[in-house]
């Protein structure tokens, strides 16, 4: 197959020429419509959770205004000296609707002009627009979180309140969770459509065109965005993180353990005893991976199936599990000061 390749691909290029295909036109049409729809729905949202807000607070960023619980958030933020948010203070909310319309028209123009070159130009312009928008958003978040009134009632030294660009961050008693809203996703999908059509119309795609590749391409694009859940162990913050079972702060890492659910939620434990109890009492929780801290090097996590455990009263653990984990049998025997100590494996401990 490799030998016949050049000939085969040359034929396709000739076939497609410089004009975009009808399939591309349909894709672009949907992309442009997505942009227009995004004018009427929130682009981004920041969800705030605090103990005393069981109902949650939500800040919505529309192309032309700030919405959601903005008045409540403004009221709360004055304690820590953050600026209040007002739509009219942002030039962006005046410009953005026109820019979005402009880009939608650009995409329509590609359909009308039909030239691949023009498609590529529009894609690059759109990409720049996206980057500039995100940089601008970040810059605003930075200023919002850092420009604090020096006369504020609550000043926590060294504390800034910059919301996350995307993802989760704890800001004092509020957990802030920032993600694109419908409009943002429409935007992203427009970008993905543009990228897809650019690749689809390119020589590269024509040369490698087969079904397997398009699957890889699509999933590749998908994973770019999906890579937010933790996959590896998350460090345990000593005295700050609480045990998910006994709710006590984790004060001794040596006996710590951690488990991540299939949904990516992280549970931390101060004792293997707590981990086992948690598992037994919450059988509906599916763990994707479980780690234990290495007794000898507590900042290192060991996969629970590969760890060597020793149950001994010599080791006084926080919740009485008294079962340290080691990365090797040798280390276990060395620390236990017992050349014949027999380790336990995880399946026996459970």
């Amino acid at each position: 197959m490799g030998v016949s390749y050049p000939f085969f691909s040359a034929k396709i290029i000739i076939m497609k020429g410089n004009n975009i295909s009808n399939f591309t036109k349909i894709c672009l049409f949907f992309g442009a419509v997505a942009l227009i729809v995004s004018l009427f729905v929130p682009l981004w949202r920041i969800d705030l959770d605090a103990p005393q807000y069981p109902e949650g607070l939500r800040l919505l960023i529309y192309p032309d205004e700030i919405g959601g619980d903005v008045e409540i958030i403004n009221g709360l933020n004055h304690y820590i000296g953050m600026d209040t948010l007002h739509t009219e203070d942002f030039l962006e909310f005046t410009l953005l609707p026109y820019l979005i319309i402009f880009y939608a028209l650009l995409i329509f123009s590609v359909i009308y002009i039909k030239k691949k070159k023009w498609l590529n130009v529009v894609f690059v312009l759109f990409l720049l627009f996206g980057i500039v928008a995100m940089v601008d958003f970040w810059r605003w978040e930075y200023n919002y979180g850092h420009n604090l009134d020096p006369n504020a009632a609550i000043i926590v030294p060294g504390m800034a309140y910059q919301p996350p660009l995307i993802g989760f961050k704890q800001l004092l008693n509020f957990g802030a969770y920032s993600i694109p809203d419908i409009g943002g996703w429409l935007f992203v999908s427009c970008g993905v459509i543009l990228l897809f059509t650019v690749i689809y119309e390119s020589k590269f795609y024509s040369q490698k065109f087969n079904k397997a590749n398009s699957i890889v391409l699509l999933f590749g694009l998908g994973f770019l965005a999906a890579g937010c859940g933790p996959k590896g162990p998350v460090p345990i913050m000593l005295n700050k993180d609480a045990c998910s079972y006994c709710i006590m702060p984790i004060s001794d890492l040596r006996f710590g353990a951690e488990a991540i659910t299939t949904k990516g939620r992280v549970y931390k434990f101060d004792d293997i005893h707590c981990l086992i109890n948690y598992q037994n009492e919450n059988t509906e929780v599916q763990f994707e991976a479980i780690w234990v801290c290495d007794f000898n090097s507590p900042n290192d996590f060991l996969k629970v199936d590969s760890a060597f455990f020793l149950k001994s009263e010599k080791f006084n653990s926080p919740m009485g599990g008294n079962t340290p984990a080691f990365h090797s049998l040798e280390k276990l025997r060395e620390i236990a000061n017992n050349d014949t100590a027999m380790p336990l494996k995880w399946n026996k401990l459970k």
């Binding site: 004092l172 008693n173 957990g175 996703w185 993905v192 998908g222």
Partner: protein, 663 residues
């Protein structure tokens, strides 16, 4: 080709949806608070069984004090204190109206923030519970033999009695520190508000309590720099003789305090050597000031309150009289100021601070002896922070407010902002446990948690925000308290219970201390010294004195005597003096008459209460018993005939016969 495109599009759609789902799923969810299975058994008090503890809870802006049983969280009684209560006739009957008298006249409402059980040798003695009025500054004493307000004393030179009613370990004094500094009462008060720094002063009253009668008197006031006093605790055991007051607004701002009183890194805890103050008084150093304040006492023999206006108070200027007061710097607007059961540790809670400073009484004494001072604040030495500091609890939570103690070396501090209770060790200052509250806890209470011998079985969190904890009741929700079992190493949430008003501080005591304190069940009719008492039906009568008509009325199951009254004319004032002749437990009678512009009477066996009634029209007015007293309660009723002014209908009264020929 077309088929392939279709597939590609489908694939695209699937990937897009997966992407969306996976991003939304990384949002961390709040850890749901697990209620363990034995919580129900722990709070269950079987029908007919009694609770283990009495809980005396401030009613906040209801102005009343509520009494709960713990662990059930059942409301047992609302004791009317500073606000009128038509249900009990409090503030409506002629006998109770004087209790709400002040130098401003009759004040029907106040804001009750804190409660304090009387103590002997640092332990709860079950005699009285004190309460503060936060708006029109007053102090009340509730007698635990009757669960009624027995005395209310107004506090001169004060504005907002918040730092109150905290007592010494033998209840020698109950203190009352002013929240608002104000110019002293009198003609000198007409000053520009902007002259706060020169003209506004804090006054802290030390109110003495007679150990037998309970009678309160303002022994002396300390005149202090103008700041806001917030809360206070007495020294106990080794630190007996001292009192500690938290204060904020040392910036001395008089406007926009939320910003202007939060500027300094440290405000103060004021340590007061009240034994020293007593010495100065003995040496004749105090200055008598002309003031006016009401002193109201309820007499159980006459069943009548009296209100006297007192005109003098002894004031000690702590800037001139040295060694009474010292300021200890305390981070960021201290709120709670709590002393542990040993009397050695003083816990300051800066409500805007991210740490809890713990001061040592021994170190404080040494710092004073060594003169380890850092200047003065309006003539009062400021002790060096480190010189008095035992240590700081680092990063305990956000917004520490109040601390209670278990007597086992642990402290429990409430955190408003992070909405949790944190248990920590006093000696080594380490955090041991934390439990979320729902939501934004203010005060905490452990039975005896402010005494030398706490009973650390439960901890109650009194929350400021309720939101979704109960069935919703429109925009106004029940207030919320939460009960934790603290008998183990870990706090365990076992009960939510709604409360009245806004609960601030509360105290609790073993039921046995209060149940067996000689509580009365009835008043003996032969001891009734009310001037208008009707000791038997034969004594019942109606007497005219000018336009005043006094009805000497008795009530017993199931009739009033008299129950037919004629000869009342327009322009008359009628006083129904109703005596409950019952001498059996739990047989109160009520009394109400149509058109009365005040309330009902609720009369306990052996008691006399008076309802004033000014008829507004001629006609027949029904009256009846409001408290279901017997099977024939509905028959317990009568009539009053009102005739025009100048009518010649004779004044007659009767029971069981038609006394007059119809006209």
């Amino acid at each position: 080709m077309y088929y392939q495109q279709q597939q590609t599009k489908q694939l695209y759609a699937i990937v897009f949806v997966i992407t969306l789902l996976s991003i939304t799923s990384c949002k961390p969810k709040n850890v749901a608070n697990a209620i363990s299975g034995d919580a129900a058994a722990k709070v269950y008090v079987a029908p007919g069984s009694h609770d283990e503890f009495y809980n005396f809870v401030s009613g906040g802006f209801s102005g009343q004090m509520s009494v709960y049983g713990l662990p059930s969280g059942r409301l047992l009684r609302v004791i009317p204190v500073f606000s009128v209560d038509p249900e009990k006739g409090w503030g409506y009957s002629e006998e109770t109206k004087p209790m709400l008298n002040t130098s401003h006249g009759f004040v029907p409402w106040d804001d009750l923030h804190h409660t304090e059980l009387s103590q002997t040798k640092g332990e709860i003695n079950g005699k009285w519970v004190f309460a503060n009025a936060n708006n029109t500054p007053r102090l009340a004493r509730v007698d635990l033999k009757t669960f009624r307000t027995a005395e209310i004393i107004e506090l001169p030179n004060s504005g907002g009695n918040h730092s109150s009613p905290f007592g010494t370990e033998n209840s020698e004094y109950i203190v009352a520190g002013t929240r608002f500094s104000v110019p002293a009462d009198g003609a000198g008060g007409d000053v520009p508000i902007g002259s706060y720094k020169e003209n506004f002063k804090g006054h802290i009253s030390f109110v003495s309590v007679d150990q037998n009668s309970g009678e309160m008197n303002i022994a002396f006031q300390l005149k202090t720099p103008g700041v806001n006093f917030d809360l206070a605790r007495c020294g106990r055991a080794k630190s007996h003789g001292w009192f500690f007051f938290s204060c904020y607004n040392t910036e001395q701002a008089n406007t926009l305090l939320e910003v202007n009183a939060s500027q300094k890194d440290k405000d103060f805890i004021m340590a007061v050597n009240w034994k020293k103050a007593e010495e100065y008084i003995k040496a004749g150093k105090g200055q008598k000031m002309d003031v006016r304040y009401a002193h109201n006492k309820y007499d159980e023999a006459t069943h009548t309150a009296t209100s006297e206006i007192e005109t003098e108070v002894l004031v000690l200027d702590v800037a001139e009289l040295k060694d009474i007061c010292y300021f200890i710097p305390c981070p960021k607007s201290p709120h709670g100021c709590d002393v542990d059961p040993t009397g050695e540790y003083i816990v300051g809670s800066g409500k805007l601070a991210a740490l809890i400073p713990v001061f040592s009484f021994d170190k404080l004494q040494k710092a004073i002896a060594d003169k380890a001072f850092d200047g003065e604040f309006e003539g009062i030495p400021i002790i060096k922070y480190e010189a008095a500091l035992h240590g700081e609890v680092k990063k305990p939570g956000l917004g520490p407010l109040h601390t209670e103690f278990d007597g086992k070396g642990n402290a429990y501090t409430s955190f408003f902002v992070s909405s949790e209770v944190v248990k920590w060790n006093i000696k080594d200052l380490t955090v041991i446990d934390r439990a979320p509250t729902f939501y934004s806890v203010g005060h905490l209470c452990i039975p005896g948690g402010n005494t030398t011998k706490p009973t650390p079985k439960y901890l109650i969190a009194y929350n400021k925000i309720t939101k979704d904890r109960y069935l919703p009741t429109g925009p106004e929700l029940a207030q919320s308290a939460q009960l934790y079992d603290i008998s183990g190493d870990k706090m365990q949430l076992i009960l939510d219970f709604p409360t009245i008003g806004e609960p601030h501080y509360a105290q609790a005591a073993l039921a046995s201390i209060i149940e067996n304190n000689g509580q009365i069940k009835i008043f003996k009719i032969e001891d009734n010294k009310h001037p208008y008492v009707t000791k038997s039906e034969d004594d019942s009568k109606v007497v005219r004195e000018g336009n005043k008509i006094h009805v000497y009325m008795s009530s017993i199951r199931s009739h009033f005597s008299p129950d037919n009254i004629e000869g009342v004319r327009m322009g008359d004032e009628v006083y129904f003096h109703v005596t409950n002749l019952e001498q059996d437990w739990d047989v109160p009678h009520g009394f109400a008459i149509k058109g009365a512009d005040n309330a009902e009477l609720l009369i306990i066996p052996g008691e006399t209460q008076t309802l004033k009634w000014v008829p507004d029209r001629i006609g027949i007015f029904p009256m009846y018993c409001t408290d279901f007293c017997s099977a024939l309660h509905q028959e317990m009723q009568g009539y009053v005939r009102v005739s025009p002014a100048g009518s010649n209908v004779p004044l007659t009264f009767s029971l069981g016969k038609n006394s007059t020929t119809p006209k």
